[in-house]
Symmetry: C2
Subunit: 108 residues, 2 copies
């Protein structure tokens, strides 16, 4: 269901291209990093590299900002969503374990 280290999450896009793709200024993109909203990787010499997922996230951020939402709020929302997701993961992991032991038996 979720291709993992795939095209979407591979960090390969430079800030200039991200700027074109999102319509945000490089200044804005760097600032959102400072506010811990995006986490680009760095190349050898320190150039930022983003993924398509980052680009989409930045577009979401841009929309929120247009609605007047502050970066701090956006960060809080992201952290909340993060925790919720982890909770879900834990539940699913647990369900998997239970199934493995007491669930539908395989042959033999």
């Amino acid at each position: 269901m979720s291709e993992n280290s795939s095209y979407k999450t591979r960090k390969v896009i430079t800030i200039g291209v991200v700027s074109e793709l999102t319509g945000l200024s490089e200044r804005q993109i760097r600032y959102y990093e400072e506010r811990k909203l995006v986490f680009p990787e760095r190349s050898e010499k320190g150039n930022r590299k983003y993924s398509f997922a980052d680009v989409e996230l930045l577009i979401d951020i841009a929309n929120k900002r247009e609605e007047g939402v502050q970066t701090y709020e956006i960060r809080q929302d992201m952290l909340r969503a993060e925790r919720k997701k982890e909770k879900k993961m834990r539940r699913e992991l647990l369900r998997g374990e239970i199934n493995a032991r007491f669930g539908i038996q395989k042959e033999r």
Copy 2:
């Protein structure tokens, strides 16, 4: 089946990153373009931009080159594959049209 203008085919990767990803020198990458094996887009100021699909193609090219295959041969193979693919497309298009007229009827 084939996500179209998606992450895989969007031209957003600069030549430096492509070089890292493929292990090829920038010189080699530019040369393969000269030999019409890859077709990057250009940014405003003329910088080359590649897609993940291009990166994969370049890796294939690198492998062929290691086997001693010349760029000209590689190009011929690509053109042949291209033609074959188009032929297939035409067949499928035709089948689709026939089905639309004489195939399984919808309601009414």
